[in-house]
Symmetry: C2
């Protein structure tokens, strides 16, 4: 319409914005914390044309400016209230021990948000802690099962969530609409969504993620310091997780303390079985233990 | 010479063979056992033009015929004596508990070998067991620090040894010429050779290879059976070694029993430190343990 017109009249501009918004799905997404995960979400939103504005909020203005330059977010904000005020979606991607107070602030400030969620890898302390939010607050907990031993938006990957599971952990009080929309948000980023109760989620994570981290760190620290080239790909794979961020992992382990401790005790039982079989030099016991591990590992594929 | 001649006279043919032999470096290499490692050595010898004949010896004639078809060896032999009689190099690549008696047979039958070696990942029981070989026997123990959780020549890789360490473990009785020539053999395959006493080698391997295998198996077996997609790349990396061959690993662990047991006890101490720190929910202890693991792992590179 108005072909040949030198400028778009106000009404047409307004319409055009609406069309773009629909194509973009979300007009404004606010990401609180621009690390590997926050950065990857920003990059994925932009590459997939899912959001018109991706505003990043963080404490370090210089890092945020770099994230804008890197194309991970479209704008940086130091002020949380201003950043989330008109956001349709807010994702809190800070270290896990800072999520609960941050969500509280976001709920108070985000007046038009359809979804407020987080990416914390421990869910019960957050979800239980936020049980007193107003009924209509559009918060639901999430946890994308994706990451890396590396940290920082420099390692952000637009396909990080592609094919990965994102756990979404509603409570009885969560508005069903919010749970659904959060699911659609993660699916739009390529993920597969699975709903799970927060406490059950934390038990699963203790076993499949937090225990392996502890085991990798314990193994890396327990062997003598040999020349680097004595360590082959087997040792490197088995200890890879130990390279993860200390600052990130202390709160994860503390927040999921009882479940991690339980997993670690099971693991120690398993190590003691191995000690007995080795001390007895019993080929049959050793074969049984190896076969049990192989069967479980083979079932996972590569 | 003899340009235009329809056939090469016997003398010229003889000379030509010698030239080819020099270009090939070794005229005939015998590989006893064609698994991942034996197969990769065969493939590397052929691709690099290092040997004219690569004869494979094994108990399963059908498997050997497949290895010839796959181009991993040039001929198959069921009879050990015939296979090694005129070999310049013999590499014993059987499971570790069958190496010592096999080397004995090879030493008796290989009348023109310059090098007889093996690839066993435990060295002291083999090297000590063979201490009564004749002084002039051209045997020296080797262990290429290369492998995979996969087994079988189907996974053979001509570059498997490229850049990897091969430990060569001479004793005071090993002819220096044999140690040197074995070193050159592995270097020709792209490896970096390191001489080490057999017992020291076994202590190193207990820590960097055998312990991680046990830890991976224990971890894979200790966690509940969740749906496959709950297990992310961290768990998969940490447990990858557990997929290794049970048949191969029982004898490795038995032959290196005391060193593996010692490593495992150190590791268990490390796990108990973790249990105490978690039970105390002490952020400082947890940070120290994480930092120790991270520092050690970071020092290895990716």
């Amino acid at each position: 319409m108005h072909a040949g017109s030198g400028r778009l009249p106000t009404l047409a501009l307004h319409r055009w914005r609406k069309i773009v918004t629909v194509a973009n799905r979300w007009d404004r997404v606010a990401l609180i914390g621009i690390g590997l995960l926050g950065g990857s979400i920003g990059l994925a939103l932009r590459r997939r044309g899912l959001a018109r504005q991706v505003v990043g909020v963080g404490r370090d203005g210089q890092r945020l400016a770099q994230a804008v330059q890197a194309g991970v977010i479209t704008e940086a904000a130091a002020d949380l209230t201003a950043a989330v005020a008109h956001a349709d979606v807010v994702v809190v991607a800070t270290p896990v021990d800072r999520i609960e107070p941050m969500v509280r602030q976001v709920v108070a400030a985000a007046d038009s948000a359809q979804i407020i969620t987080d990416v914390g890898s421990v869910k019960a302390p957050i979800v239980d802690g936020l049980a007193d939010l107003p009924d209509e607050a559009p918060f639901v907990g999430s946890h994308p099962l994706a990451g890396s031993e590396r940290s920082g938006f420099e390692y952000a990957d637009a396909d990080l969530l592609e094919g990965r599971v994102v756990f979404v952990t509603p409570t009885d009080a969560t508005p069903p609409r919010v749970t659904e929309q959060a699911g659609r948000f993660w699916e739009a980023l390529g993920a597969r969504v699975e709903r799970m109760a927060a406490r059950e989620h934390d038990r699963v994570m203790a076993a499949v993620s937090h225990l392996p981290h502890v085991v990798a760190a314990a193994l890396a620290a327990s062997v003598p310091t040999f020349p680097q080239h004595y360590f082959g790909s087997g040792f490197r794979d088995t200890t890879r997780l130990a390279a993860g961020s200390v600052e990130m992992w202390v709160p994860i382990l503390l927040q999921n303390q009882s479940a991690v401790l339980e997993s670690l005790r099971h693991f120690r039982d398993s190590i003691e079985d191995w000690e007995r079989a080795l001390a007895a030099a019993d080929p049959r016991q050793l074969a049984d233990l190896l076969a049990k591990g192989k069967q479980r590992r083979d079932a996972l594929g590569s």
